[in-house]
Amino acid sequence: MKEDWGKEAGNIIARWARKHSLWVLAYGTGCGAIEIPPTMTSRYDAERFGITGMATPRQADVLLITGYLAVKTLKRVIRTYEQMQSPKYVMGFGSCTINGGMYWDSYNTIKRLDDYLPVDIFINGCMPRPEGVIDGFIELQKLIDSGQANGWKKYQDNLEWYRTNQKKVIKNWKMPDYNW
């Protein structure tokens, strides 16, 4: 009973802390990368929500994928995601990550990001404006707070499924094992 209480308190604190400190690794593919600077700097100032850019996946909590993903890029994105420490969240940014967007019939761009990575939240638009991005982050915070942002768990549990999808497009699978 007492242990449970302690655990619960710890969880609350942890959730609160995670919610208010989102370290973002912006994977700037495609045109979406240009939307990140205004989001972070003076005009929209995402830092007031505790959102900060990070340089390496080891330190980051949120993987922000800004735009279409070619197969070649997808491989790197998966690698980057797997290097992040749990709990970690993926944000799909722009319609390209949702359904391929304007590259819907391209032979080399993936159509659904959530087939390959557990996306916690999508932001639609082509491109979404910084307001949209911040809105997305706030939604993410809500999800974290309610414990619904558990993509990393899904990824662990359904690794087989994700791997099958990933290997379908990435022909030459030469990657180190996933260590979570």
Binding site: A17, R18, H20, E47, R48, T56, M84, P87
Partner: protein, 300 residues
């Protein structure tokens, strides 16, 4: 005495970490205001550290990587233990009667070396580059720093921090007024110490992916961030002790340390980044010359 002594020994690291992290949060806030932003809450850094502690996984690259944050924080806490934090009748001295300024100057390096070793074992070339830059830059700012320290030691003919504090009994006798050249030289070195903007080539996130800590994540990074806050506190207290005659109570300690914290912060806000060799040559030019002037003042 004894219980409070033991209590302070246990508490001081936490106090130091909290104060240091809060100062950093305030610093971020100030930077944000200067940049016309709203800025994060002032406890943002503490939240960040808490979040890092709550990370569920962590990876290690080996023994040294695993030990590095522990050793680093060991070094910092040990430094703290040999530093007089509050002076006066209700002072917090910890073990500071068992070591002098030379010990402090050397034991401060312990944690940095451990960090460098851990960064080395991470196997990331960026980390190694960061360490290489950091150590090089350290040789740079050590010149004015050492000159200032030696000036103080010779001026008061002692190497004990206590005696130096004792010699600054009143406001006008503060070393920042009594030996201004040494103070200025030490202040320049302080900019390098704090690793704020003009001299942040070590962690330069856009170039070398945050440098030495680039492979650290989760609990390791949490420990390192704690260490960073604590180490900032240690450096601030050391400077307060040396140049402002220490502090008699917590309010004045916070005020004085905050004053010192602001200086590199404001310098950093308005300056771009130096390259390593620029930083070194910068330190070896004017700050060193000013420090030598301080020498002349003491000798003559």
């Amino acid at each position: 005495m004894d219980t409070s002594f033991n209590l302070w020994i246990l508490l001081m690291p936490f106090v130091g970490a909290l104060v240091g992290l809060t100062y950093m949060g305030i610093g971020r806030r100030i930077i944000a205001r200067v940049q016309h932003r709203y800025g994060p809450p002032i406890f943002q850094n503490i939240v960040d550290v808490l979040k890092l502690y709550s990370k569920k996984t962590a990876i290690t690259h080996g023994v040294m990587f695993h030990l590095a944050p522990t050793l680093a924080i060991t070094g910092t806490i040990s430094t703290l233990m040999f530093l007089p934090i509050l002076t006066g009748p209700h002072g917090i001295y910890l073990f500071s009667f068992k070591g002098d300024l030379i010990l402090l100057m050397y034991i401060m390096v312990f944690g940095c070396l451990a960090m460098a070793l851990g960064a080395g074992q991470s196997g990331n070339p960026n980390s190694a580059i960061g360490v290489s830059r950091g150590l090089s830059q350290m040789v740079g700012y050590e010149a004015p720093f050492v000159i200032a320290m030696v000036t103080l030691m010779v001026q008061f003919n002692t190497t004990s921090v206590h005696d130096i504090i004792k010699a600054q009994d009143s406001f006008v006798h503060w070393n920042m007024f009594q030996s201004p050249f040494a103070f200025i030289a030490a202040l320049f070195a302080f900019l390098g110490f704090m690793g704020n903007k003009p001299f942040d080539v070590v962690i330069a996130p856009a170039e070398i992916a945050s440098g030495p800590p680039s492979e650290f994540g989760g609990k390791y990074l949490a420990l390192m961030q704690t260490n960073r806050g604590m180490f900032a506190f240690v450096k601030l207290v050391l400077y307060v002790d040396l140049f402002m005659g220490g502090a008699a109570n917590f309010v004045s300690l916070l005020a004085k340390t905050f004053f010192f914290y602001l200086i590199p912060l404001f310098v950093g806000i308005v300056n771009p980044r130096f390259r390593t060799e620029q930083a070194i040559t910068f330190f070896w030019k004017w700050p060193t010359v000013i420090g030598l002037l301080g020498f002349l003042m003491v000798i003559l």
